[in-house]
């Protein structure tokens, strides 16, 4: 690793917000983000994400579809209503067909089925950020 010769202070890497009510999966996603080199923050509910400073900072949101309280689609609508929202990647453990169509119709960038294939997740993240991690 060569030290940066850029005199400007390094910009913080884009933040990926992970929203999922299943603690083991949330932990696993945060670990995967770290391994992939993304900065990430985890939230156990849509409500707690909306209430946090990460809401303004997040460059991309990876949210579970089905959660007690506000679910992934409701979060999507809320962010769209408030405007200027980061792209949202929905993930779900549900198995019904046609969920992708509904997610896209509501403005999700993509919908991934659990277990999430890492390559698919990386592709979605790349589309969300327009480039790789900082």
């Amino acid at each position: 690793m060569t030290p940066s010769s850029d005199p400007a202070p390094p910009l913080p890497a884009p933040l990926v917000a992970i929203v999922d009510d299943d603690p083991p999966f949330l932990d696993a996603m945060l670990g995967l983000m770290r391994a992939l080199g993304w900065r990430s923050a985890g939230f156990a509910s849509a409500e707690s994400f909306l209430a946090s400073p990460a809401r303004a900072e997040a460059a991309c949101i990876v949210s579970d579809l089905q959660m007690p309280g506000m679910d992934g689609l409701a979060l999507l609508s809320r962010l769209a209503r408030d405007g200027g929202a980061a792209p949202v990647i929905l993930v779900t453990a549900r198995t019904e067909p046609r969920l992708e169509d509904e997610a896209r119709a509501r403005g999700a960038l993509c919908l991934l089925r659990k277990p999430v294939a890492p390559e698919a997740l990386e592709a979605c993240l790349a589309r969300a950020m327009g480039a790789g991690p900082g």
Partner: protein, 556 residues
Amino acid sequence: MLSRAETEILDLVQEAVTLRTTDGRILWWNAAAQALYGPRPMRAAGRAAADLFGEPAEDDAAALAALRAEGAWRGERLRPGACGGPRLVALDWRLRPDGRGGEAILETGRDVTDARRDEAALRKSEHRYRNLFQAMAASFWELDFFPVGARLHALRKAGEIAAYPAYFDAHPDFVREMMRLTRVVDVNEQSVALFGRPGAPDPKAELMTSVEPFWPEASSPVYAASVVAAVSGELSYAAETRLRAIDGREFPALFTACFPPDTMNKGTLLVGIIDLSARVAAEAALAAMRAEQARAARVSLLGELAAGIAHEVNQPLAAIAANAAAGIRWLDRPEPEVAEARTLTRRIAADAHRAAEVIARIRGMVSGAAPAASPCSANAALRDAVAMLETEIRRAGARVALRLDPADPAVIADPVQLRQVAANLAQNALQAMAGRPQARLELGVRRAGDRVAIEVADDGPGIAPEHLPRLFDSFFTTRAEGMGMGLSITRGIVEAFGGTVRAANRPGGGACFTVELPPASAAGSAPFSAPFSAAVAAPAADPSPAPAPTGADRRA
């Protein structure tokens, strides 16, 4: 004319006897004629019959012609009666010498007015009966029961029969013999259509036997019961049974028999039979439809179950996949991060274990289709359920209050299923309290009258009143990810063991589910002492420990 002796004898005759000339003049009539027509013999003598009776002369001329040709004339005439009204009189004319070398007519008249009216009424009634007999949609049979009655009478007289039902029960062959003795007198067209051999040259004639061919062996008791009803003075008998057509085809039927006293005296009785095939077929179709509906419901239930299982199992699989992906990245680095990979691999192991637990829990829910009922401890069921849900309790950060009954009452249930009931209710309570900082799960066992009550309470938001009636319905859920099976399964298990489950909101907030099951032995059925019951009944109002708790409050 007539000798005095002759007139005296003729006065004793019941018929109206009149002596008249061939040109229609009355010579004499007897006392019966006076009674019939009114005038005394002395006053009638010499009068013209045509005037007296208002009969046309040409009628008399025709009658006289017949009399001369055949030696006798018979006919009926309407004549004014002594009491005013017209009488129909059957007449018989004979010629006899008048004793003066000429001829006279000896007329014998019989008043048939009443007889003709009775006959007409009878014919009308008979006609109506025949019309009914033939026109009704039901199959009607006129049976000659007389030989059976005679046979029964003889047996009874000989002391062989004490009570008919018992005798018929003990002698099935005798019942068949009574059938053979019951002769078919007449049947209507519907009977021929229902019982006859299709295409037979004379299908009705084939039915004119005994009733025996029409009664399958299995239906003999119905015939016997109808005989009992007939001989015990009942007016009618009806039963659903199976009857047999002459060609052996059996069908369901409504059998009715009438025993009106007047026809019973003649030994005939009327039987009506309605073919129930269509109704029975409709019922069978309905039953098939219900079965199909139930099957469709099961298939749909299975689909829901599969979706639920997929969701539950996908959660840990998703964590495993993400952890594995992260681990590979760490190991793929130019300098592999072994420590990171180790941490992730441990997580993978834990997630795999979690997946196995999910499957075990589902298995516990759906297996054991034939539960073995045995005495098992309600206390143990609650303890085991808490152990089973350790992970969930820890995640919810819930405090558990376990208030067991020191007498450790046993209920009749399957221990695994009873534990499932407790676990389902506890899980439901945890879900109701999701997100609450001070979640408190309370589980208790107590005596409730002659039953054992298991109570599971939470301090969540409680149950919306409109949800209370549907709470235990299949697929009813208030949670987006819920399948609505937990409480439905719970109720199914509890009811299978003769118990009940109900839900209520607690005055202090939160919900309380109460399962009541019959105790294993009646010996322990005395109501338990009040203090413990009261403490468990209102745990929210009094957070202090119950007087004699054997369980422990703990923070998981």
